[in-house]
Symmetry: D2
Subunit: 255 residues, 4 copies
C-alpha cells in the first residue's frame, strides 16, 4: 500500500523468448519482463520491482507473493491456456481486494483480463510490418498520460483495431490510430472490486516497443495509478442490523 | 431478434418453492417463475414466454433453447453453486452473441452475473421485515423507467445496501432507499459483447414483490430493452488485410 | 412526441451559400439545409421536415416553431456570433424540456452546443484537401450506428483531431481517423435535461459530405434517436412535502 | 499548480449573514466562508486559504485573483442573479484553463455551475427540520471519500431529492438518503476543459453543517482532488499541418 514506492511484479508468459523466437530474443535477450522491470526500476525510484514467468512453479504467483504485490503487470500471447485456473482466480481475487493490474498488448485475451472484463475482449488485427501506431491522449489531465508527447509515435507495431469488445471504460485515456487507417481504444482504465485495472495495447513481441521511452513512461505512470490506496481487504456480503450506524457514530465504518 | 415480441425464458432456481418454504409457496404456489412469466405474457402481447428451472435437465437451458431465446430472466438465491459451469458458460456466450439477460434480486451472486460483471458483486443486507423500499428513477427518459410512478413504493422488502461491488453502470436507471436509511443502486444496465444485461434488485422471496404491478412493468420494459437488435453472432479475433475496407466499399462490413 | 414520425427542422446558418462561396454552392445550390432535409424526408417516411436559416426573422426559430419541433439539426460555421442570444436560450430551454438536437461539424463551436456542453469544445483541424475520413462504430448495437458499413469511408474531409474538449459522452458511438493519422471522437451522444443531443463531425462545407448515403443514414438514425419519448415539460425546483408519495400512491408521479 | 498546498479561495454570497438572518448568524457569526476557510486551513497545512464575497468589488474575484487561485469554493443561494455575468464568465474560463471548482449545496443553481453543466440543475427539496441526511460513498477508493465514515451522518439537513437534472457524472462519489425516504446524488465529479468540478450537496444555511468534521474532511479532500496538475492554459482551436508530429518527434507536444 504505497503510491510512492509500489511493490511491482512483471509477469511474462516468456514463451516466445524461451522457445527460441529469434526476433523476440533479439529485442529481449533476457525476456520482455526483464526490459519492462528495468524500466520501472529506473523510472520509479524506491519501487520494488520483480518478475515472474509462466515456467516457474505456480507461474511465480504464489498466494504469498501476490499478498506482497501492489501492482501486477501481465504480458501473455501464445500460452493463455497454459495458465492454471487456480492462479487466475488468485489474481482476480487479489485485484478485487485492491491489487492493481496492468494488462499489456495480447494480454487482452488472457484469462485474468477476460474474467475481470466479462466480455469476449475480441478485436481485429494485422501484422504485416507496415503499421505505425500513434497513441493519442484524450484525457489530458489523467495521471497515466503525464510526461509523454501527444501523440506517442511508435514506428512499427501490430495493428489492433475496433471493434474491441470491452466494457465501457471508467476512464478512456488513449486512442490509437494505425497507418492502415484503423482506430483502437488503446489505453482504458477500470475499477474492479477495490482494485484498478489498466489495459495498454502497444507491445507486440516482434517490435522493440518496450524499449520506447514514452511507452516506458506510460507503464511507470500506470504502476503508480494502479497502486492501492488502502489496505487490501475482502469484499463480502455482510448483514447490517437496523440502526447500525447511528449509535454515537460508533457503528459507522469504511466501505 | 425482435423488439416487438421477444422470446423470453424466465429461469428460476425454484429451490425455496420446491423444497417446501411455506412463505414463498404462499406467495408463489407455482413458483416465482410462473408469476413473472404470466406478468410478461400479459404486458407484452405477442411475446413468447416460457420458463426453466434448476431441476430440469441442463437446468432447462440447452444450447438449442438458448439459441431461440431473446431475453433470459434469472432468479437464484440458495443454490448458485448447483448451477453447472457448462450451463453458465453457455449463458455467458449467448449474452456475448446478443442475448439479453435480466438478473433479479439475489441473482447478484449468481454465476452468470458475476462472470459478466467481473467484480465480487457483494453488498450489504438486512431482512427483518421492517423495510419499505422506494425505487427512484434517475434516468427519466430511460425506456425501462417508463410507465411507473416516481418512486415505486414496495411496502416490504429485504434491504440491499451499498457498497454494492459492481462495475460502473453504462446506464444507472434506479436508486433505492430503505426505511433504515440505506441506499442501493437497484437498477443498472450494461452492455457485454453484443448483449444487454439489466440488474433489478427488488424481489426477495419472502414478500410478494413480483405481484406488484409497477415491478411487473419494469420487468416488461427490461425485456423489451434487452431484446437483441441484430442477428446473434460470435465476436472473434479476426485478421484484417491492409486496405480491406477500401475496395469500392466492398470490404466494409458490420462491426 | 413521436419516434415514428418526428417533426424535424434543419437549421443552417446558410452563410457560405448566401454569400457566394462557389465551392459550397456547387455542392449545395439550394443550401446545405435543403440537401439534408431532402435526405431526412426520404429516409424517414412520415416525418415532417422543414428548414430554417440565420437570415430569417428570429433565425426561423420562433418560440411557436420550436414548440412544434421534435428534433433540431444545427449547422453553423462562419457566423456563430450572429446568432442572437435570445434564440440560443430558447433552443437550450427547448432541449432541456425534451427537444432533440443534432449538431453537425463546425457546429461544435456554436452557441447552443457550447451552452449544453459546458466546455470550450475546442479541437485541432486541418483542411488541405488530402484527408480521407474513416468513421468507425465502437457501439455496434447503438441505434445511430445501424445500417451503415464499418467503417464509413468519406473520401475527402477536413481533419478534426483530438484533443476535443467535450464532456465525457454518455454514449460514444463513432471514432474517426484521418489520412494524416489523427483521431477524433466524431459521434457522441448526451442527455441534457429531458432532451438528447448528438454531435456528428463529418460535414465540411467544401466537400459534398451530406450527399453521402451513409452520412445521410446516420443523420436519419440520429433524428429517430433524439426524438423525445414523452411530453415536453419544464424541469423546475419543486418543494416536496413529507410523505408526498405515500398517500395511497396518489402522490407518486412522473420524474 | 500544487496538490500539496493548493491556493484556495472560499467564495460566499454572504447574504443570509450580512442581511441579518439570526439562525445563520448563530451558526456562522463571521460568515459561512470563515468557517469553511478555517477548516481547510487546519486540514491542509501549507495551503493558502482566502475568502471572497458577493459584496466585494468584482465579488472579490478579479482576474488577477483567479489567476492565483487553484481551487475555488462556491456557496450561493439567495442572490444568484446578483452575480455579474462578467465574473461568471471569468470563473468558467478559469475552470476551462485548469482551476478547480467545488460547488456547495444551493450552489447547484448558481450561474457558474449551470454554465459548466449545461443542464437545468433543478431538483426537489423540503426543509421542515425533520430530515437527517446520510451520505454514502459508492466509490470507496475515490480520494474525496477518504477518511470519513460510511455513512456520514448529518443530524439535520434540508432534503434535496431526485430527479436532479445534472449530466451523468464522470465519477459518482456519494449518494444521500433522507429521513423522508428520498435519495440524492450528493457528491458528483466532472472534468470541464482542463479543470475539475465537484458538487457536494450538504450545507444548508439553517443547520451547522460546515462545522461537521466529516463534512470538513470531504471539503479538504475535494480541494486536493480539484487542484490542477499542470500549468493553466487556454484550450483553443489550432490548425495542425500535415505530419506535424513526425519531424523527429519535434512536433509532438502536450495535449
Amino acid at each position: 500500500m504505497s503510491e510512492v514506492a509500489p511493490r511491482i511484479v512483471v509477469w511474462n508468459e516468456n514463451v516466445h523468448e524461451s522457445r527460441g523466437d529469434a526476433t523476440v530474443i533479439g529485442h529481449y535477450p533476457d525476456g520482455m519482463h526483464a526490459v519492462i522491470a528495468a524500466a520501472l526500476h529506473e523510472l520509479l525510484p524506491g519501487a520494488e520491482v520483480g518478475t515472474a514467468t509462466l515456467q516457474e512453479p505456480e507461474h511465480g504467483l504464489t498466494a504469498e507473493r501476490l499478498a506482497q504485490t501492489d501492482v501486477l503487470f501481465w504480458w501473455g500471447h501464445a500460452a493463455h491456456d497454459e495458465v492454471a485456473d487456480e492462479v487466475v482466480e488468485r489474481v482476480v481475487d487479489a485485484v478485487h481486494a485492491g491489487m492493481g493490474l496492468v494488462v499489456l498488448h495480447s494480454g487482452h485475451y488472457s484469462k485474468p483480463f477476460k474474467r475481470l472484463m466479462g466480455t469476449t475482449c475480441s478485436l481485429k488485427w494485422r501484422n504485416d510490418g507496415q503499421d505505425r501506431e500513434l497513441v493519442w491522449a484524450i484525457a489530458p489531465d489523467h495521471p497515466i498520460a503525464q510526461g509523454v508527447p501527444h501523440p506517442i509515435v511508435i514506428d512499427q507495431q501490430e495493428m489492433y483495431g475496433e471493434f474491441f469488445d470491452i466494457p465501457r471504460a471508467d476512464e478512456e485515456v488513449f486512442l490509437s490510430t494505425f497507418t492502415g487507417g484503423e482506430v483502437f481504444r488503446s489505453g482504458v482504465a477500470y475499477r474492479r472490486g477495490l482494485g484498478r485495472v489498466f489495459y495498454f495495447s502497444p507491445g507486440d513481441q516482434e517490435y522493440p516497443v518496450y524499449h520506447h521511452p514514452d511507452v516506458q513512461r506510460v507503464l511507470a505512470n500506470a504502476a503508480q495509478w494502479a497502486a492501492p490506496v488502502s489496505e487490501r481487504r475482502e469484499l463480502t456480503a455482510d448483514p447490517h442490523p437496523r440502526g447500525w450506524f447511528t449509535t454515537d457514530g460508533a457503528g459507522t465504518q469504511g466501505v
